[in-house]
């Protein structure tokens, strides 16, 4: 039985087992290796993608449950090679280290900022609890997110 997935606006049919985690199809079949399978148990957030605009961990999402939904991966945030404004802010603040957590983190932050365009420091912190970073100690990421949110407010 074939399952039809809509990923970054394109439709893909797959014959994989319906219980296959979405992250495996993204990484192994579609060469979308931005989502990282770091823990495969829903703890780290490195595999986060958007499903109908909501962040979900793709390591726990069977493809059967993703069928027919609108899936957006980190690769879609910088369509055409242009970084999103949030990604640009993270680049300019030089907060990236090994980088393994950032795809999941930017996806999660993108969705968080869409519903909280003007967050407090504490809110940004809380929003990151599902995204572990082993390198940075978080605070400078939060600085960058706040600066970005402020700039967007000022500009908009």
């Amino acid at each position: 039985m074939s399952i039809s997935l809509t990923i970054n606006g394109e439709t893909h049919a797959t014959n994989r087992d319906p219980l296959t985690p979405l992250v495996d199809v993204l990484r192994d079949d579609l060469a979308l290796t931005g989502a990282k399978a770091v823990c495969r148990e829903g703890f780290c957030g490195a595999c986060t993608v958007l499903m109908d605009g909501q962040p979900v961990v793709s390591c726990l999402l069977p493809i059967a449950s993703a069928a027919g939904r609108d899936i957006r991966t980190v690769e879609a945030l910088s369509d055409g090679g242009e970084l999103s404004p949030l990604q640009k802010a993270l680049e300019q603040h030089d907060v990236v280290q090994c980088g393994m957590c950032f795809p999941g983190m930017t996806v999660a932050l993108t969705s968080f900022l869409a519903s909280n365009p003007n967050p407090t420091r504490e809110q940004v912190k809380q929003s990151l609890v599902g995204n572990i970073c082993r390198c940075t100690g978080y605070e400078r990421i939060i600085d960058a997110v706040l600066a970005h949110a402020q700039a967007m407010q000022g500009g908009g």
Partner: protein, 787 residues
Amino acid sequence: MDASAAVMNYPRRDARDKLSGRTRYTVDRSRPGMLHGAILRAQAAPARIVRLDVSAAEATPGVRAVITGRDAPGLHGIGVADQPLFAIDLIRHQAEPLAAVAADTMEIAKAALAAIRIETEPLPAAVTMEQALRPDAPLVHPDWTSYEVLFEGGGRSGNIAWEATVVRGDAEAAFSRPDVAIVESNFRIGRQNHLAFEPRAVIASYEDGRYHIETSTQVPWTVRNVTARVLQIPASSVRVTVPPVGGGFGLKFDCALEPFAALLARKSGRPVKLVNSRQEEMLTCLCRENAELRIRSAVTGDGEIVGREAVVLMDCGAYGGEQIFLTTMTAHTLLGNYRLGSVKLVSRAIYTHTAPNGAFRACNGVYNTFALERHTDEIAARIGMDPLAFRRRNVLGAGDLGATGQVFEGDALGPMLDRMAAVKASRPSRKAQAGRRLYGQATTVGTWFVFVGPSAATINLHSDGSASVITSGVEIGSGTMVQAVPQIVAAELGLRPEDVIVRAADTDAAGYDVGVGGGRTTVSLGAASRAAAIEVRRKLLAVASQMLQTPAEKLELRDGRIEIAGIRGSGTTIAKVAQRAQELLGPLSGVGAFTNSPVVSQPGCARGHFIEALEIPIFAVHDCEVAVEPETGHVEVLSYTVVQDVGRALNPRAIASQIQGGVAQGLGYALHEEITLDEQGRIRQTNLETYRVPLATDVVPVEIHLHEGAPSRGPLGAKGAGEVPILNVAATVGCAVARAIDRRVEQIPLTPPRVLAMILDKAPAVRLPHIAERWEDNVLPRPARKS
């Protein structure tokens, strides 16, 4: 050259792809025709292998290669070659490799593993160091005497894998002085897991009679040499290349999966990918080791430390590995920081039937600093001196003797303590924020070092005015290869850092390198790159001098141009000079190299040490404030401040990133990260649910002050900045909590149950019955040294 030309907050060039998910780490790569490898690992240890039958795995359709210990006879190790690739006859620890397969798919590979028949016979175990040190303890390596010793000088006997000692001055006399107080402290420390986000991963192939290993490592040359050793092939037949590495922290400072993948590739004739699952990563982590320490000091009433003796037991697990080297570092950390009249130290790496430990950011320096600083507080309390005044009085300064008798250059810790005091005086205490909770504050000092060692670099200056740097350096996330190295080279050549291309590590292209870690990247690779740039600059200036009819001394390089000094627009572009040079002499290039220069210690006082003195010490002063909830034992960090010795800060913003990240890892170690072992020596924490690393809500913004100007042989006076931020975090939090709850803190992590037990006086004191009362009884009898 003006050193300030190299100083800037140059942003990382790899951030763009990392942020957009386009960076291809080893785990993200594949090759045409690639097979999937998997390793059969031991369920229980120790045990004797009675039968290992892989015939059913070999017969499984889709299986292309099966390998066992027969395929890899060589032993490797640090100091002592004690480790085989696969368990052969003896299984020494849980998860030890028994066999490996490569198959068309991962499912087939796993099915093949399940088809392997193994019969084992259990053996008596020594799971803890206490068990391993009993006179009748089962030996982890019954054949230890037959092993090749790769570095002479360490004491070895049975389960004592390595023993290093320091004896300086007359400690006996110091401890029997009538005017001293004798203070003794005991500590027990658990293991810490790096939890690098990218697991150890490799893709290997066998082409034209050579192995190509593409791997997630910090040490391409170690991978090359160890793979050759265990496969018993010439090292020159192994090529190692390294894509961006998704976190290392020391985990990848050793050869790991590479020889398995290389063997499978050779046997199958196809590229083979091998990746550790998260569970395999947890079970074979090469953790920061668990340790047990006793430290005793003889201190006069006015705070002079006339004698110090210590016994340190470090659990190396089933194989010696990094811990054998790290016995050396105890001298410079546990016996570091302060002036000592006399010292007696023994550090032992102990074999146990548990997973091997390894290197982790600042290694044993972290718990040795914890033990030393807590001990220091206990001394100050005993003699009734303010702990900060005691530190200020005793910290090492210019001309003072270190533990092994080296003479320290320059004053760092004293001025850094003053700086911290000034910072603290300039802002209010956070005490009010503690409310009804118990408040504690501590300032601690720490000493670590740069693991210098050899590095090589080649630079090609192209006729378009760009340069490429070829080294074996790896970008593991710290930024050195994408920031400090291009900054240094660009400053030397008058280019912009973005005009300097840095080639990814390839052992076929670049000279030997010790590896990326130990704070050495900026220092050794930076210095080698700078030396190569200086050669290119000299050649460039010779040609420019002819072109501009001006002596080379009167020319300067900057902004991509060579100008007559002080006259803008008088010269020409570097690209034009490089073109001219190419016509006259051929393409321009330069080579550079760097290595240790020996530092004198007191002859004869250190035995079994891999280095006898610190060539480039690094100092740190940390301060924190905590609030402890008396009902639950929960510790909240209210503020954290760092004054770090960086020599010269080439990229202050990138250094701040490293400090924030390193302190966060240290807070995890101090407060909640701990790997524990069950009675069978099995690691209990096998995933991210049971091993809790800091989340965003667990950390605080670190206030950071960089101390510049302490002497360093590093390029432009730089030191490594990424390793040391974790060094005194457990020490600082431990001292602050001890002061808050007015109890002896002898263990970390300070989890709420542990802290609560201390508050309620229900935490038993750490007892170490396997450390003999008399220091001498903890030392192997050794033949007297020839003088």
